[in-house]
Symmetry: C2
Subunit: 197 residues, 2 copies
């Protein structure tokens, strides 16, 4: 998605080789008009399939999912993060390891809101190691629901999550895939017309 | 807001005398179409004033704020919760005590996204003791910005937060104010046409 890549080049800050800050429009300040364009793009990529629920994870997935859902005319479910060992009844749950925080937490979705009849599109802001998305897929499977696909705003293509998902046959659509980033440059995946300088 | 009160009566679960679960449309599963009606209602109540930023707090305020912002054509900023003693540079921050969790956390907003030129509408899903909203107001004041008002979906009118805000002169608009709730009934504030049975 060209305009997204341009905004990443113009507005993102890279810290070290792992952290991409897009607080200006995605993760802290939210440009809802731009996120509506992102939602339209997800609809272009997944709208030919029937989707009954959009599933995301708190917190920063919520905004993208909410601006995407009106195109699909579905509710959003945001999985709740609860640190391990806090048991919650009547949920599907999965353990997720966070590399950035070096700890595990569980994500929970109430059994009331996902069932075997559901066709689920997972939406999230970032994909890196893919552990959060794998936790959500685990929950979709526990519910016996069908996974339609995974829509990601920014994929860190230099980490392994995206490739693992593609290999496992998941329909993954990432609107921007970064292959190299550091404090000097951001380079998108081959074939993309935009490059950092 | 009549339809909101009806949905609370039809769909909410009261646990004890303090917890109102509206996971079906607001806090876990999000009915984005209904939240757009809620956004329209906030616009009816605050749209006559100039608003440049909508400020909320992660996680469950994000969905409501995002579905409200398109009416005002403003970005959303969601304050980040970080447990006390994690210092973060270049932010406005305020300490918030959570009664439900019996611990304090700090909320942070980057100095890049709020300034003395801003006219801020605070939006949140719930108001009870009002500590979270007071933390956000503190941040608005630190930025030297002007507080236009506070829009709340559900106010627990039997707790003190709303009255304290009104007494301090804040323009507070709560779309449903609950005066009594328990496992048998939910009663809205006097003058509201709907009552639980």
């Amino acid at each position: 998605m060209k305009r997204l890549k341009q905004r990443i080049l113009d507005e993102a800050t890279v810290i070290g080789t792992e952290i991409l800050k897009v607080d200006n429009f995605l993760n802290h300040q939210v440009d809802v008009e731009f996120l509506t364009e992102i939602g339209a793009e997800f609809y272009k990529r997944f709208g030919q399939e029937e989707v009954t629920k959009i599933l995301t994870i708190e917190s920063s997935g919520i905004a993208v999912a909410c601006m995407t859902a009106p195109f699909f005319k579905t509710p959003v479910i945001f999985a709740k993060k609860i640190e391990s060992r806090n048991l919650v009844d009547d949920t599907y749950s999965s353990e997720v390891y966070s590399y950035t925080k070096d700890k595990s937490y569980r994500v929970h979705v109430s059994r009331n809101y996902l069932s075997a009849q559901d066709k689920v599109l997972i939406i999230d802001d970032f994909l890196a190691n893919g552990k959060a998305v794998q936790g959500l897929i685990d929950i979709v499977n526990q519910a016996g629901a069908r996974l339609v696909g995974v829509g990601i705003v920014i994929e860190k293509g230099f980490q392994d999550g995206g490739n693992q998902l593609r290999k496992s046959g998941v329909k993954l659509e990432s609107l921007a895939i970064i292959s190299v980033m550091n404090e000097q440059e951001i380079i998108f995946k081959n074939g993309d017309p935009l490059r950092g300088e």
